[in-house]
Symmetry: C2
Subunit: 142 residues, 2 copies
DNA sequence: CAAAAAGGTTGACTTTGTCAACTAAATATT
DNA sequence: AATATTTAGTTGACAAAGTCAACCTTTTTG
């Protein structure tokens, strides 16, 4: 059993950061996609050729939800699908050009927002923040 | 304009932690409340006597959504409301005993989950994680 | 080959969240 | 003091987000 103040600190941060991300995330408004959709597009940007299965595994989304989402993205021309050579059941998904453009816009908006958040900090604090983020990720990604 | 790799690092962490919280948050399943509801109850636990207005300000929720949520909580006996002495429009909200019990259960479940996450780490890593969390919170809460 | 498992689709549905119009109380304006 | 404006909360109607289970097809396993 972990020390209970450690548990409290851990939980406190998670609440804090849930709130913080909620504030940030609201700026995703005025975009044509919601958070889950943005995550899917982002994943396809990062991993062209991923399958719906990959997406739902990596992002923890529902089967039917992803299926419909992808279908809509294809209809909108953002994503294209092509049958996998190895497995006749799966479709490889990748961003089509309009999807790239959309992602570029999302990236730009997100970068501007990140910039605003970081620019408010003194250089030393910014370093402290980014080092701490790297530390967390390094500890938790195992 | 912030250094672009700083922006990338910041955004990278936010994506990473969104995923991480998503994984954690799914354990809130098998609970009778969803994330927003849990946040509201948590806030009432922390700040007895808060108004619906306080809740929607602090948590960024919709007026009508909060109103209905509170109404349901009252019906379920989790929350009690009493008219404010100073302002006839507002109702002071606080957890009733069954709400306290519910919160205790949520706290216990969340603590167990946190414990599982932390117990998987070596003491040195755990310290590194918690220090990093404290650093982030201290930098960002200004 | 037959049976079981896995990827994906679809219809029906629930949950979650939003919007705008409204009531009543408080505050500001003349 | 009377009127206008603003604010807390409520409500109906609705939209968005997400879930569930049945189903078809292809692949894998026994």
């Amino acid at each position: 059993m972990t020390n209970s103040t450690e548990i409290d600190r851990f939980r406190h941060f998670n609440r804090f950061y849930t709130n913080y991300l909620g504030l940030l995330g609201n700026h995703l408004y005025e975009s044509p996609v919601n958070l889950s959709e943005a995550r899917v597009l982002f994943e396809l940007d990062r991993c062209p050729g991923a399958s719906a299965r990959d997406l739902r595994d990596r992002l923890g989304l529902d089967k039917g939800y992803v299926s419909r989402m992808v279908k809509r993205f294809v209809r909108q021309g953002w994503v294209e699908e092509r049958a996998s050579a190895e497995d006749g059941r799966v479709k490889e998904l990748r961003l089509a050009q309009p999807g790239d453009a959309l992602m570029a816009g999302l990236h730009r908006a997100a970068a501007e927002q990140a910039d605003r958040a970081l620019a408010a900090l003194a250089p030393a604090e910014r370093k402290r923040l980014l080092d701490a983020m790297a530390a967390i990720e390094s500890v938790l990604s195992r």
